[in-house]
Symmetry: C3
């Protein structure tokens, strides 16, 4: 499909600077723009490419000040990144969508499902499962007994959802992720062996949650492990039993949250963070990459870093001095010598 | 199902304080207790809820001293946590269990299996596989050629067990876990390319081992990667080729053990720990979260922490002083000034 | 099969010391050698076993100086490790290989595939997929629409390859790995919710790449996430959207690379390393285990360590002094007392 600058600008309610009849048929990064492609400029680090790109059309923030000639036709919008995201969404919605039920599936006779659904080959759906409208279950998905899946949710290939779990509407779950595996609960015995604590709870995932690939979210021992509305979880993340993650919290790849910890809403957790069990993280807290959080964070909006983690400004000062440690050690040795010399002088006098 | 305090107390050999006819039909956390639910109190952090819970029955340690009125009927037992675990076990055993072989499976003609087994749809079983009695293979499991699986073992959906691996009795393996993938072995060549070292060994998992979801356990180059009896492995854990893990060792989520390292028995490894290759960890060692273990730990029962990891008391003192580093730096600068002043005074005099 | 020392030595162009008619039928580690087995000695840590092993034949480097009597027949070669790898390769090539297409598969009518291929049961192949010659797709693999897979590539059970991705020739991908899941891209909204940025790019994996189990490689937002020729990726690794990894780079288990970062060629990344987004790592850089890389590394061949990571020699000196911190603190307190005493003496005088 081909679009003109005029069509795109009208859709985005933008302003054209250049040729309204300029045509594009594909999307590119600004540094890889070519004739017939549409790009955008949002990150200031990439501004230099605006003056050299071969893209035919570029979306830019309307407050951008041009410092040189630009070959491309520009469309000025309030927020170029969001405008671009809207175009991407429009584009993906225009792609053909799989519908219907492949014949190589296992669907229990007690399963109920809505309309406009896609169930791919080799997907298994257990007893008493309820699936909403417009749901996509890609091939090789496992849906255990008594699971509920809300409208408009997309479950990618190989996802495993254990019995009794609840998945909301408008969710996306990526390949090989496991929802509802047993929590890691064992009672030590006198002979050093461990006795398994059965995990009879479930996992509740509210609406508009996105979960990456190869994620593990364990079911609660009793009650529920809960992922609130709008949470975004990246790949390879561990969520232990009875954890609760507040609305619109974002967690980057390879982080882990131990059992029974409660994370507030609007929290940002960077990659490879570890959080111990049975603590609370206040709303709006930000946790830097590779942090190890060992205590509750009570102050809303606090920014922490390090292992052990504390206030990021304090930690950064510590990091800066730590890098000077060999130098500091020398200073101390010098001081010891000087002081000894002074003491020796004192004795002599 | 409904149970009375009397029935439960008799099963647990406990003592009732309250109404022996009190009835419960479900299980809840003490802080979420409601009429008709059974709870337990073990962690002292939760004692306050005993006086406010709406649970009808609460299991408590018999040595608990009450400090206020309690509405619930209490059942006094030696260890409330273990008693509760026993009830959970009873409860889960009462749940219906899947049996039989779904018709959408691939089972080689040379596979031998015992009685009372469950093989879910889309599970693949290769040549010469031997499966014991009372084994559950959930849907979409892969069992490679020549694999052996012992009695009473449960393999959850999507687990992949490569050829020649041996799984013991009474094991549990959770979704998407991979047992027996190739070890990471490559010989560097003169042109900077790498030549693969074929991995012709296997993985041996002894009895009563539990393995979480999305775990990777690589096969040995030659010989076996060995997980001894009673080991408990959480989610997203890496076990490299030729590793050996001793009996009843417990490993929390996202930890990784590099090639050929031997872990003793009764070791406790917290989350996100990394252990280098070709070392030994003595029996009973405890390793704190996010530690990086770079050398063998020879002393049994040693507790280590940090990256690089050493004795936890030493490390904690180091952490405490590290937090004072900006302050320490100021002290040194002050000392330097003072000493300079003293030296200047000395010269003058 | 049984081989004589003579046959093996001729294949390896080695020199026999001992009995040319000595026979072996299996392969063992040198410390577990037994009559009829072949071992090798490469790592000097294992030299002691040469004098005690029961292996019938041992491959050794031709420059090895014997310090005691050896029972085994030796075959002297230039490089015992590589010679052993060649034998392992010969051995694995002699194993029976699965060929043909199981009947329980889903293959779209528009898929094209070459000769000598294996497609295992419950594997799904979407529209317009192109598969080369001599490719193995184990059971339960997912191959999305428009995917291309080159000759001689092996895809192990449960791998999920999303639409539009390109896999080269001679690649190996292990179980449960996901190629092409959505990058983690969300635009924050004013109400603290996030709007998904559709990820319309793909993943390109060039020739001779090996990827372990439970790995996540996300598709690009636009353009491609690229893994160059000869790269080796261990288990449980995160590769975010728009990352590019240069030729023959090696990455150990549980490491993660954030979005848009470009890694050079011949880079070595140890286990559990985290690398932030939008940076560049020069060719030949080596990154120590558990490092956190927060800035571009511009110097080729630089070796870095730590979190935050910098030059390994500098970091190691810092680690050494850090361990002395409690001692350093005492030195400073002592100095403060001494200086105070000197000042007091000064006043008195």
């Amino acid at each position: 499909m081909e679009f003109t600058a005029k069509t795109i600008s009208e859709f985005l309610r933008g302003t054209i600077v250049g040729n309204p009849d300029e045509k594009v048929s594909e999307i590119s990064k600004i540094e890889e723009g070519k004739k017939g492609s549409l790009s955008f400029l949002s990150n200031p680090k990439y501004t230099k490419y605006l003056y050299t790109t071969d893209a035919s059309i570029v979306l830019v923030n309307k407050d951008l000040t041009l410092e040189d000639k630009v070959k491309a036709t520009l469309i000025l919008v309030d927020n170029a990144y969001e405008a671009f995201a809207s175009l991407l969404q429009l584009y993906t919605q225009s792609l053909p969508k799989k519908l219907g039920i492949d014949k190589e599936v296992y669907i229990s006779s007690t399963c109920k499902y809505g309309k406009d659904i896609y169930i791919g080959a080799f997907t298994y759906i257990g007893e008493n499962v309820k699936i909403g409208n417009n749901v996509s279950l890609y091939p090789q998905v496992y849906v255990g007994d008594n699971v509920t899946i809300g409208d408009n949710t997309i479950i990618y290939p190989g996802v495993k959802i254990y019995h009794d779990c609840i998945i909301g509407s408008g969710c996306t779950i990526h390949g090989s992720t496991v929802i509802g595996s047993d929590g890691f609960g064992f009672a030590p015995q006198q002979d050093n062996e461990y006795k398994k604590i059965p995990q009879i709870g479930n996992v509740i995932i509210e609406d508009s949650v996105e979960i990456g690939s190869n994620v593990s979210i364990d079911r609660a021992t009793i009650g529920s492990t809960i992922i609130r509305k709008g949470v975004k979880i990246d790949n390879l993340i561990q969520v232990a039993h009875n954890v609760e993650i507040g609305a619109n919290t974002v967690i980057a790849a390879q982080s882990g949250i131990s059992g029974s910890t409660k994370i507030g809403k609007d929290v940002m957790i960077a990659g490879q963070v570890g959080i111990v069990g049975h603590i609370r993280i206040a709303d709006g807290v930000k946790i830097g990459a590779q942090s190890g959080v060992t205590n509750s964070i009570d102050k809303e909006g606090e920014i922490i870093l390090g292992s052990p983690a504390y206030n990021i400004s304090e930690k950064r000062r510590e990091f800066a001095v730590a890098r000077q440690l060999p130098n500091i050690y020398k200073k101390i040795t010098d001081l010891e010598k000087e002081v000894q010399r002074l003491k020796d002088g004192e004795k002599k006098s």
